[in-house]
């Protein structure tokens, strides 16, 4: 099963819109949404279905047993994250706590312990021939790399043996979750946006992706909002030897489609026609 990952570096470039179009065009039997901080793909691909839900446990966090606490204040003094405060009792700020365990180790009264916490939820949609894996990280949680790995793993495990293509909607940024999503995929499609900030973020994500042994290609979304910047992106790709899979115009009808829970290839619109070309080129490169 070939895996295609769609990334952008910057948020809001159109990854999910393009990913959903690709899924519709390829009739892919396996897909996943690795943007666990703010998953959106299920809003188009799985509106009326109920998934299997599983709690995801992240870093354990500290809890103070007020019965045992002698209020010596040592935990508050040593906490590097300002996570312990005293109102009526000494309490741990759930969101600031990083689970380092120092308070647990130094408490003279054994009043502090690290407890497992649910820091998100995994969702798996399975029907007779396709699987869709996604997850939502709970607010304030750090470190979504493990959750992303879990989302991909579940997609691969649940996919039917005859599934030949998997499409993965990636997360923005260049951090750990993105690294986790790139690991093991066959190709990365970078969605670029022709703005100054978009170009700078695109360069960072390409540098990150190049450290992996994976094919990379680029497409430009909303290319007509700034033709000069689009030209800059094309030049950048040429200089670096990166294949350009195509360009998609800004299209208000795309918004209408998405708001109706449809992909841009489900209706007749300029972005839909353009994305078909991008899809063709991407598939050619992927299966070459």
């Amino acid at each position: 099963m070939k895996q295609l990952l769609i990334l952008s570096g910057k948020g809001g470039t159109g990854k999910t819109t393009i990913a959903s179009a690709f899924i519709a065009l390829s009739d892919a039997k396996a897909y996943a949404d690795c943007d666990v901080d703010a998953p959106n793909l299920h809003l188009i691909m799985a509106q009326d279905l109920e998934p299997e839900r599983t709690d995801y446990y992240g870093m354990p966090k500290a809890e103070i047993d007020t019965d045992k606490c002698t209020e010596c204040g040592l935990c508050k003094e040593t906490c590097r994250f300002d996570a312990i405060s005293k109102d009526e009792n000494f309490t741990v700020d759930f969101f600031a706590c990083e689970g380092c365990g120092v308070c647990e180790a130094i408490c003279p009264a054994n009043a502090v312990s690290l407890k497992p916490t649910v820091s998100g939820e995994l969702m798996l949609y399975v029907d007779s021939d396709r699987v869709f894996s996604t997850a939502q990280l709970r607010m304030g949680s750090g470190n979504s790399g493990l959750l992303v790995t879990e989302v991909k793993k579940r997609m691969k495990t649940a996919a039917r043996p005859d599934a030949d293509l998997a499409i993965i909607d990636g997360s923005p940024g260049i951090g750990c979750p993105v690294i986790a999503s790139i690991s093991g995929v066959d190709m990365v499609l970078v969605v670029a946006e022709p703005s100054v900030s978009g170009i700078s973020d695109m360069e960072r994500i390409i540098k990150t992706a190049e450290t992996f042994d994976t094919k990379i290609c680029v497409c430009i979304n909303k290319h007509d909002i700034n033709p000069a910047n689009t030209g800059r992106i094309e030049e950048f790709c040429r200089e670096r030897g990166l294949p350009l899979a195509g360009k998609i115009p800004f299209d208000p009808e795309a918004v209408t489609a998405v708001n109706n829970g449809q992909t841009i290839v489900d209706i007749d619109c300029p972005s839909g026609s353009a994305v078909k070309e991008v899809f063709r080129n991407t598939m050619e490169l992927l299966f070459a």
Partner: protein, 121 residues
């Protein structure tokens, strides 16, 4: 000498796991005594730093070689400094990899991907 392999299941016909840090089990094989044992990988639940912990397990068990399809930079750092050689595994079962290793057919892994250094927030 002891050889370690990340595996998907606890038997010699198991496929080699595609991930090292998050493999469910490690197989340890002694080339002298021909004995095998398996260990659950406690690094699997780590939100991050799994590669380092997994490498530590390999080192602590006295393995001198690791056969794996991929390995992160951080894990590789631990292994290299502890003088454990990392070989590129071949597609196939654990047994097939052991046979290939003993026949001198495996090559050293040369490309290490970036590991969990890039923490998210």
């Amino acid at each position: 000498m002891k050889v370690a392999i990340p595996v998907d299941e606890r038997h010699l016909d198991s496929s080699v796991c595609l991930s090292f840090g998050r493999a469910p089990y490690f197989l340890f094989y002694d080339t002298t005594t021909k004995e095998t044992y398996y260990l659950d990988n406690s690094a699997i639940e780590n939100p991050s730093g799994a590669g380092i912990k997994a490498a530590q397990i390999i080192v602590d068990h006295g393995a001198k070689a690791l056969l794996t399809p991929r390995c992160g930079e951080n894990a590789q750092e631990v292994l290299r400094k502890s003088e454990v050689l990392v070989y590129q595994s071949i597609p196939g079962t654990a047994q097939e990899n052991i046979d290939a290793f003993e026949a001198g057919k495996l090559t050293l892994l040369s490309d290490f991907h970036s590991g969990a250094g890039r923490h998210g927030r």
